[in-house]
């Protein structure tokens, strides 16, 4: 296993631009765990993140993606380390979504404008602040979306069913073209 690389769903090649205001990055190679936990299970205390919000816990990002559902994202080693010690007693489901989701990051000041072209959600700071977690249709594909700003610059993690990865990557590039976008 160690010598195998997770294949990206984005198989086309793209030229990069140096002066683009938005950067689209493929972060599919990161690890993703999906936790679901019933009321009263000990793992809920470890996750400790309310639905609709996220936080960094060490090197992993914990997102309350739906009621009773959490995503834990990060580099493979970090996710493995975090999950090694979490209690899984009780009615708990842990599914490795590393292979089930493509993960893209859209970063840049005008990124809200790009998202407004493909998604009907309200991206204002009040309605979708840094750390917000939601799901919605982007370019007619259901996605999980986490606002995860980078050094104060608006940034969104977008997770989509892996099979839609190439399609969505191209749709996001198209949406960002008006504002200047490059593949990171």
């Amino acid at each position: 296993m160690s010598d195998l690389t997770i294949q990206s769903p984005v198989t086309r090649s793209y030229s990069t631009k140096t002066d683009a205001a938005i950067t689209l990055t493929d972060e599919t190679a990161q690890s993703r765990l999906l936790f679901r936990a019933g009321t009263g299970t000990p793992i809920r205390a470890a996750l400790a993140q309310s639905f609709g919000s996220s936080r960094m816990s060490g090197d992993v990002l914990i997102a309350g993606s739906r009621p009773d559902e959490w995503l834990v994202l990060g580099e493979a080693d970090a996710v493995a380390a975090w999950s090694a010690d979490v209690p899984t007693e009780g009615h708990v489901s842990l599914v490795d979504w590393t292979h089930g989701r493509a993960q893209f990051r859209l970063t840049g000041e005008p990124v809200r404008g790009a998202l407004e072209k493909v998604c009907g959600l309200d991206w204002s700071n009040a309605m979708t602040p840094d750390g917000a977690v939601t799901s919605g249709s982007i370019a007619k594909v259901t996605c999980d979306i986490i606002r995860n700003d980078v050094d104060g610059v608006p940034s969104y993690l977008i997770l989509v069913d892996r099979s839609f990865g190439q399609y969505l990557f191209d749709a996001l590039l198209d949406a960002g073209d008006e504002f200047g976008i490059t593949v990171g």
Binding site: I6, G52, H91, V92, R101, K117, M127, P129, K140, S163
Partner: protein, 947 residues
């Protein structure tokens, strides 16, 4: 440019940039900033079009977006509003629907029979005899108005955008700008939408002082951070202030549809000048006061040489001053506020020569300017639930009441000085911003992802605005003569009176019967006159007659804008690049792009039957089920029993809806005590997930089960064929001995160096098969490893077509292909899987009944002519008749058997082995199929897959 005036202080044209173009075959020149209409007029042309029905020559009436007489073809773009569209260099502009030319149009002969072309003429005349309708239609279509669509024209790019501003202001006149400014200064995010090419409303063609006020407001608006959209229209207001906006000019798109969710909507649409109805009111040279003011002040175009002005308001008075400054001789000014009136125009069809006034006076003139009042375009308010009320003292409609999140300002709300309008707009903007704060607080508090709100929800700001006044205005709709009411539809006041006499005396009926108000102007020019004429015919007041209800869109929208940006999601497996590189013929199945075959589907079948083949079955739906109550869920969703499935085993199940109709099927395996993997059909992956969640969340929230879709978390590969065990043994340490890993069993382990793979012994082909589910990021690696490891075994990929052939050979049905929306479970022949002795399952009551009925039966068939493969869905009929008894649901030529085979749904009396079925082919010819004893044509005992 024969009619171009000397520079005007407020002109919007750039004289340093001439634009050559062609109008009606003649070389012309305009300037940047010209509309097409102003440029044509500046070049001395006054006829723009022919009317729809009678093909009467028409000249400019309003010289703006609403002008009903100025639709032209611009290159390959038909039905362009030349009064609004800006001129571009090199365009060829042509008149529409004229033959042979604009100057001489033979269809003008319609005027000779005009008195017979009354309202409803087409309905009454061409209804009989019905068999002649195709002929009628062919002739009538040549009279259809509009330009020509070139289907070869490349599709233009139409964009779409969503936005959630605090305040949307519809209308960028002085009140609208003041509202936008005040709202922005109060901290609101504001989107200001203006129909015209620039902000300012009527101030744009006003005095120097008025334009200065407009410029100052615009500068402040832009400095305040208001997002300004010009050449854009708020087309509709829907529930919860969902506001549609069409942005007609954008750097990257010909049009952009904006879907705005406004917390408050300010409607400042202004007023639209109304034409006057009298004999000859559509003769070229009759213009509204706004039209001549725009032509002179914005575009420096002289609208005529000698004018009569019929004025009942300030706009008419101002037009007199403008005309005089432009060098137009004022032959007469008729005051509509007193007893003056216009009776008729006289002249040729193409120009006015004189104007007949009340009192018997006739004045020579080539231009008649009318200023008789305003239409209040209350469309957006109608859409918000308002029912405007007519005020006879002011001769226009006013709002009666709007929801809290819709506010009105400007001319729609009343009259006043410019300062008063601005003050009212400003107060409206502040109120809109205040209410937006309360609405935003409520939305934010109700949205889980939103930032936390502080304090309780503020009260909705009270409306303490000082109302605008109402300036008296005479009711001037129709003179003592009859004339055109709807210029777009060529409907006259006589037509309306006639229709009312026929009984179409309700305004909504009258509208539909005569088509008045239904043309491109959408009632903006003609609604009030229509109502007034009807009121006169009924002997009632306008208030008593009421008005039509304006529905979306405010202005016509192109189909391209409505369609917007088209998204067509596509799904591919991780092996897709290999399929592409190796010549797979793609087929779209649902949203999935899948390999139909790799060049020789029959050869692929033979290879699977002889050696070993591999197929990418990633779209197969997959759900992880976790929890101690999974058997309860499976017992509920499937018709068969799931109480005793051991870890390491898999079972087939049939899933029905409450009505007993087959919904899905698939195999579910038990991976560990509390973890199961369910597979569904490819098309059912989403619906089965939702179905399971629906039952869990509504009927059984107490059950401890989590359902997680993992369809593309795994790349799924079916390895099929007599050599499949040999191939798999080279890539995995899992014990493949048939005794250790038998048919309908599941194992997990490493395959081709990839951990956490799932492998189960099932198959759709009838051969010894292993279905692999490997982590998707390594799917391509495993696929290529299979091909490499099995090269000496003859391994080769096979596609959907080969799989379809083999599953028919084995008699396996596909839900949705061999079943339909009425197929209940017993039809499939799987009665043993319908366990009516279970406590309960979805569809049990209906299936208890259905099991006793003579339902259609799914049977396996062979064609008597081995070379004929009837198309799927071919009808099975009673011999010698066209009575439909059933249908062929699947059919293929079997390379294994060398004959044509299929599945069919037939009535029970034809379901026994040996029954002959009459099948109707596409050609109409009939062939015979024979029902077989078993569903499986090939290896009915299943010996090959159980080895």
């Amino acid at each position: 440019m024969t009619e171009r005036l000397q520079p005007q202080s407020g002109e919007v044209i750039d004289r340093s940039t001439p634009l050559p173009f062609v109008w009606n075959g003649k070389e012309c020149t305009g300037y940047v900033g010209d509309t097409i209409a102003s440029a044509i007029m500046a070049n001395g042309h006054r006829i723009f079009a022919r009317s729809m029905k009678y093909h009467r020559p028409r000249g400019l009436l309003t010289a703006d977006f609403w002008d009903p007489n100025a639709f032209v073809q611009v290159d390959d773009d038909p039905n362009v509003r030349s009064g609004h569209r800006l001129l571009e260099v090199g365009v060829t502009v042509s008149p529409q629907n004229v033959w042979p030319s604009l100057d001489v149009d033979v269809k003008a002969a319609n005027q000779l029979v005009g008195r017979f072309l009354s309202p409803g003429f087409y309905y009454k005349t061409f209804i009989h005899p019905q068999k002649l309708w195709p002929a009628y239609e062919k002739v009538l279509s040549t009279f259809a108005p509009g330009g020509e669509v070139d289907i070869e024209t490349p599709l233009a790019y139409h964009d779409k955008r969503y936005t959630h501003p605090d305040v949307v202001v519809a209308g960028g006149g002085p009140a609208g700008m003041a509202a936008a400014l005040a709202a922005a200064e109060a901290g609101a995010s504001v989107l200001l939408v203006e129909h015209e090419h620039g902000l300012g409303g009527h101030l744009r063609w006003g005095s120097d002082e008025e334009r200065a006020v407009a410029a100052d407001l615009e500068a402040k608006v832009r400095a305040a951070g208001v997002e300004v959209l010009t050449d854009s229209t708020v087309t509709g207001r829907y529930e919860d202030n969902w506001v549609g906006i069409v942005q007609r000019s954008h750097p990257i798109a010909v049009e952009r549809l904006i879907k705005a969710r406004a917390k408050t909507l300010v409607v400042a649409a202004g007023l639209i000048e109304r034409p006057y109805v009298f004999a000859g009111n559509d003769r070229p040279g009759v213009m509204l006061s706004g039209a001549v003011r725009r032509l002179i002040n914005l575009y420096a175009v002289k609208p005529g040489e000698r004018a009569v002005v019929f004025s009942a308001n300030d706009s008419g008075d101002a037009s007199v001053a403008d005309l005089e400054r432009a060098g137009v001789e004022i032959a007469a000014v008729v005051d509509g506020r007193t007893t003056g009136n216009v009776i008729a125009t006289h002249g040729s069809q193409k120009a006015i020569k004189s104007v007949e006034l009340s009192g018997g006076r006739t004045v020579e003139a080539d231009l008649l300017v009318t200023a008789v009042g305003w239409t209040a375009p209350t469309s957006l308010l109608n859409m918000a639930g308002d029912r405007p009320v007519y005020d006879p003292a002011v001769a226009r409609f006013f709002p009666s009441g709007t929801p809290d999140n819709v506010l009105v300002t400007g001319g729609l709300a009343g009259d006043g000085t410019l300062d008063q309008l601005i003050e009212h707009g400003s107060a409206t903007g502040s109120l809109a911003a205040g209410r937006a704060v309360a609405i935003a607080h409520r939305l934010q508090a109700a949205t889980v992802r939103a930032a936390a709100v502080e304090g309780a929800e503020p009260d909705l700001a009270a409306d303490v605005r000082t109302p605008l006044g109402r300036d008296p205005h005479p009711e001037l709709f129709r003179s003592t003569t009859h004339g055109i009411v709807d210029y777009s539809e060529d409907v006259g006041s006589k037509d309306l009176v006639s229709a009312a006499k026929e009984g179409y005396d309700s305004v909504e009926l009258l509208k539909r019967y005569t088509t008045a108000t239904m043309g491109p102007a959408q009632g903006k020019l003609e609604t009030v006159n229509t109502v007034a004429v009807l009121a006169e015919a009924r002997g009632e007041t306008i208030a008593e007659v009421g008005t039509t209800i304006w529905r979306p869109p405010y202005a016509p929208i192109t189909l391209g804008a409505l369609a917007g940006r088209i998204f067509e999601p596509e799904r591919v497996s991780s092996i897709h690049p290999w399929h592409v590189a190796n010549g797979a013929k793609p087929i779209l199945a649902g949203q999935w792009i899948r390999p139909e075959h790799y060049g020789d589907p029959a050869g692929e079948v033979t290879n699977v039957r002889t050696n070993v083949g591999i197929i990418d079955v990633t779209p197969l739906g997959k759900l992880v089920l976790d929890g101690p109550d999974v058997p309860k869920l499976l017992n509920l969703l499937y018709t068969n029993s799931w109480n005793k499935l051991d870890v390491g085993s898999v079972r087939y199940g049939l899933m029905c809806a409450e009505d007993g109709v087959v919904m899905d099927d698939g195999v579910t395996g038990r991976l560990s005590e509390n973890r199961w993997l369910m597979t569904t059909t490819s098309s059912g992956a989403g619906s089965v997930w939702e179905w399971a969640e629906n039952w869990l969340q509504t009927a059984h929230p107490d059950w401890e089960v989590f359902v997680t879709p993992v369809t593309t978390a795994y790349t799924s590969i079916n390895v099929a064929g007599p050599k499949s065990r040999e191939l798999m043994s080279r890539l995995t340490d899992i014990d493949l001995d048939p005794d250790a890993f038998g048919y309908m069993k599941v194992r997990t382990g490493e395959i081709a160096g990839v951990d956490d793979c799932i492998m189960w012994r099932i198959g759709f082909t009838g051969e010894l098969s292993y279905e692999l589910h490997v982590p998707a990021g390594y799917g391509l690696h495993v696929w290529e490893a299979l091909l490499e490891a099995g090269a000496d075994l003859g391994v080769a990929p096979f596609g959907l077509e080969a799989q379809r052939i083999m599953r028919i050979e084995k008699g396996h049905f596909i839900v949705g292909q061999d079943t339909d929306g009425l197929t209940k479970a017993p039809t499939t022949g799987l009665q043993p899987l319908i366990k009516l002795d279970k406590d309960d399952f979805v569809g049990k009551p209906e299936l208890t009944w259905a099991m006793e009925q003579d339902l259609p039966v799914l049977v396996s068939v062979k064609m008597t002519d081995k070379t004929i493969v009837p198309p799927e869905a071919s009808q099975i009929v009673r011999p010698g008749t066209n009575e439909i008894l059933g249908r062929i649901t699947s059919s293929r030529y079997s390379p294994t058997l060398g004959e044509s085979i299929g599945l069919a749904q037939v009535p029970p009396e034809l379901a026994s082995a040996g029954s002959e079925l009459t099948v109707v082919l596409t050609s109409g010819e009939r062939t015979t199929a024979v029902v077989q004893e078993h569903h499986a044509h090939f290896d009915p005992e299943g010996a090959r897959l159980r080895v």
